[in-house]
């Protein structure tokens, strides 16, 4: 069965937000399972999940089921289809899909939108092109083989006739999709592999783009919530008298904790006629809290405990050869411990949501990476059929994983049900930083054996960190396989004796995904430690690293994907060449490298720093990336420039601490992020090939911090292990 269907006459088309008429096509992608061969033909029931419409006025509309949070996905998706269709780029527009299982997997995470959609979009575009050509050939009574498509027209050169796509839409809507499709060759691409500007540029630059916080519904009230300072604490008692005196405050009441992974934390809500009154009312509250089970969380003490655990034997999760034997036969032993703190996402747009409970239905607007989760949870809480819950996805003002956890939607739903009117719940920056689903904190111990020639003969990596699984299965205190395969168990080094161990770590806050997730600390420790081995062997770090990666080979990377060590080495040598690796540098300057494979993409960084009077300056970061067939050059460059900044924020400043269970950071003054005066030059070299396109949002992050730390070593001979660097006095 062909995965592509003409659904122009199907009833459910009207639910997609399309006007009636024209050619509507769908692609059947059941399950959206992430596999190397995800584009294999669908079998069984036709459950379309990717939709386009060509109208008789020529407009081409794509339903974007992935959320836009700065990765330019709306543009990249449309450019792929428009390219294969030979459409006019100016005629393309986008409808943002509501959260609904008809679209398949909508979770915009894991850097996989292009990976999943590239092939289906191309096939659907090509099918539409063939149908338009067929419609024209019938109209003109000429063979299809004599017709071509070009820039939104079908052309018959022999008779010098042309007809626009729009004028063919109706006729094409009565045709079946072709059984065999010929896709363009890379040489024929007009948009793929080029730089396509964002389709939303004008709205962004003129303040017209609607983010979650910008939603206004008639009769809407505004709410702020005072949440338990300790995770899963509760309200003991509260005094609302002062809050109720604030002009504009209309009601104050307690809201419950909803005990599901993305449930509300509970607390005291203030409902008002404007945001400011709600926030002022929240400040005027006096609440006595029960601290609950997590009241003892102290991140400093917890780090000591995790460190102790990684210095002891732990659960073996990978074993090749015999590390102990190799250690006892070693010429030299190298060991290091790495301690990395919790991080908060701090997207510029704080969590927020509008919910409008209407008795037998509910309408929701929010910036969401996982709109179907929000819909499922809201329906469950309200006791409604999910079909009665509509979730509109707005633009996301940054997300970085935070908006995959829609606890803020649950709050809006609770409040709207209670107040019986549309409510926008608004988190201020302190709410955001103190009630995040935090990036985990980790202690890692690495130990290696070197032989007389300096070759690494054994590698032991022990990790302790609270797992994201603890958010879903409370009490989970070991990491999942995927979490450990973020640099540790999938280490791409040719070392005969290798062991990875996982030590126990309980979670005392909600743990979530943050841009590149466990690759942050596993990529960091493995890259810094590999550099230490080069130093111990008294070898050039680049030459030594290429030796560690070893010969060209394919390493199993899960779900049928393979890590290609040749591609890994290529990004590293490319970045090194661009940086001028080995050239003489000014006094106090040093160069450091890092290379990492994550989200099926290869990225290397070669960074030049200087340290003068114990002050660090990062001068240049040279990045090289292999993400398969580049879809949008400018977007890849932007994502990697952004990843460099994000990675530097982690390296310089990122640190969330808890004392007595309470998060101590409140805003950008004590949770700083990188600003323009600290930004180095960043170059991005995109390796050109036509492999399947892979992730680009996250893979740039893990290489930044280790390349900086390795460069500091090159400049000063001093080795740092723990982050952030602000604690060293260097920044």
């Amino acid at each position: 069965m062909s995965p592509i269907e003409n659904i122009s006459r199907r009833k459910f088309v009207r639910y997609l937000g399309f006007a009636t008429g024209g050619l509507v096509m769908a692609y059947n992608l059941p399950g959206f399972i992430l596999k190397a061969n995800a584009a294999e033909p669908a079998t069984g029931e036709f459950k379309p999940s990717l939709f386009i419409q060509l109208n008789s006025d020529g407009s081409l509309i794509l339903v974007a089921s992935r959320s836009e949070m700065g990765q330019n996905i709306r543009t990249s998706l449309s450019s792929v289809i428009a390219d294969e269709m030979d459409a006019d780029w100016k005629k393309v527009s986008i409808i943002q899909a509501d959260g609904n299982p008809i679209y398949g997997d909508q979770n915009t995470d894991g850097s996989r939108s292009i990976l999943l959609f590239f092939a289906p979009l191309r096939e659907m575009g090509a099918a539409a092109r063939v149908m338009l050509i067929k419609a024209a050939s019938i109209k003109w009574g000429v063979p299809e083989s004599e017709c071509t498509a070009e820039n939104h027209y079908v052309i018959h050169k022999k008779t010098n006739q042309k007809i626009s796509f729009g004028d063919l839409a109706e006729a094409a809507s009565r045709l079946h999709p072709p059984k065999n499709i010929t896709l363009k060759t890379p040489k024929e691409y007009d948009f793929i592999g080029h730089s396509m500007p964002s389709v939303d540029l004008k709205d962004f630059v003129h303040g017209k783009a609607k983010f979650g916080v910008d939603i206004r519904v008639p009769g809407m009230k505004f709410a702020a919530v005072s949440r338990p300072p300790v995770t899963f604490g509760s309200v003991k008692s509260f005094d609302a008298s002062k809050a109720l005196k604030v002009q504009g405050v209309e009601d104050v009441f307690e809201i419950p904790r909803v005990k599901i992974p993305y449930g509300a934390l509970g607390g005291v809500a203030v409902v008002a006629s404007n945001t400011w009154a709600a926030l002022k009312g929240k400040e005027a509250l006096s609440v006595i809290w029960e601290t609950g089970e997590n009241g003892g969380y102290d991140t400093q003490k917890f780090m000591e405990l995790m460190t102790q655990r990684v210095h002891d034997q732990a659960k073996v999760v990978k074993k090749e050869g015999d590390v102990e034997k190799a250690f006892s036969n070693a010429d030299k032993i190298v060991e290091s411990t790495f301690q990395l703190p919790h991080l908060s996402h701090a997207p510029m747009e704080v969590p927020n949501a509008v919910a409008w409970f209407k008795g037998d239905s509910c309408e929701i607007w929010a910036p969401l990476q996982s709109p179907q989760d929000a819909r499922r949870d809201a329906a469950q809480y309200l006791g409604l059929d999910p079909e009665k819950v509509t979730v509109h996805v707005t633009f996301l003002g940054g997300a970085f994983g935070r908006k995959s956890n829609p606890d803020f939607v649950m709050e809006a739903v609770i409040l709207s049900k209670k107040m019986n009117c549309p409510i926008q719940v608004f988190w201020d920056r302190t709410d955001d930083i103190q009630h995040d689903f935090y990036h985990t904190t980790s202690a890692q111990y690495l130990k290696a054996a070197l032989d007389k020639s300096g070759n690494t003969t054994a590698w032991l990596h022990r990790l302790a960190f609270p797992s994201i699984s603890s958010t879903f299965v409370p009490g989970t205190n070991y990491a999942s396989g995927g979490e450990l395969a973020s640099g540790a168990t999938n280490l791409p080094f040719e070392i005969p004796n290798l062991q990875v161990e996982n030590a126990k770590a309980d979670a005392y806050v909600r743990i979530g995904w943050l841009r590149s997730v466990c690759n942050i600390f596993e990529g960091y420790a493995t890259n810094v430690f590999a550099d230490e081995l080069a130093a111990a062997a008294k070898k050039d770090p680049l030459e030594y690293r290429l030796g560690l990666i070893g010969k060209d080979r394919l390493i199993e990377a899960g779900e049928g994907f393979k890590l290609d060590t040749a591609r890994l080495k290529k990004v590293l040598t490319t970045a090194a060449k661009n940086a001028g690796w080995g050239k003489s540098l000014p006094a106090n300057h040093g160069m450091g490298l890092a290379v990492h494979y994550s989200f099926l993409t290869y990225v290397a960084a070669v960074t030049e720093v200087s340290v003068v009077n114990n002050h660090l300056t990062v001068h240049k970061i040279h990045l090289a990336v292999d993400c398969g067939q580049p879809v949008n050059h400018d977007t890849i460059k932007a994502q990697l420039q952004g990843a460099a900044i994000f990675g530097m924020s982690i390296c310089y400043y990122g640190k969330i601490t808890a004392k007595d269970g309470k998060i101590q950071q409140t805003n950008f003054d004590n949770y700083p992020v990188l600003r323009m005066d600290e930004v180095p030059e960043v170059t991005v070299d995109i390796i050109e090939n036509h492999e399947r396109p892979t992730g680009i949002g996250e893979p740039g992050v893990p290489v930044i911090a280790p390349s900086i730390v390795n460069a500091i070593y090159a400049a000063t001979g001093k080795r740092y292990h723990n982050l952030p660097l602000t604690e060293t006095g260097l920044v």
Partner: protein, 149 residues
């Protein structure tokens, strides 16, 4: 009653004089282009022009701007359309959320100093946070605007 001009339009508001300009714009006047970022003046997302100077609207009580002229992102094209054009040309935004504040701060710089040096641009823009990390392109767009004058 507080009177002010917003994007060229006169407004008279019967309102708590302590309410920050940000919330007057967003919740009372429906101009949602100006964004909340931190509420304490650390990030610059809420920047607006008050008589050609950039101020943090999140911490500016409405009474402070009585009888003054406010320009928000929705009205910026009347003051410096070239800046916005260059912002588009260089495809500056990623998520787009902080961009109104970045544009306003850049416009304010160019109002007082039409030919800033690169260092002056960096100094002026360092108060504005972009979490996506569009700083390179922001600087480039400002430089391009300066050069085209």
């Amino acid at each position: 009653m507080i009177t002010l001009t917003v994007n060229g339009e006169k407004k008279s508001l019967d309102i708590d004089p302590d309410m920050p300009l940000l919330w007057v714009l967003r919740d009372i006047l429906g101009l949602t282009g100006t964004k909340f970022g931190c509420g304490e003046g650390f990030c610059g997302s809420c920047s607006v022009l008050v008589d050609h100077e950039s101020v943090r609207s999140c911490s500016t009580p409405i009474s402070d701007v009585a009888n003054k002229s406010i320009t928000t992102i929705e009205g910026l094209s009347k003051i410096n359309p070239k800046l916005q054009e260059n912002w588009e040309l260089l495809d500056v935004p990623q998520c787009g959320y902080c961009q109104p504040g970045q544009l306003i701060t850049a416009a304010a710089l160019l109002e007082t100093n039409p030919h800033p040096t690169e260092q002056q641009i960096v100094d002026a823009m360092t108060g504005n946070i972009c979490r996506c990390g569009t700083y390179h392109r922001i600087k480039e767009a400002i430089v391009k605007t300066v050069e085209s004058k």
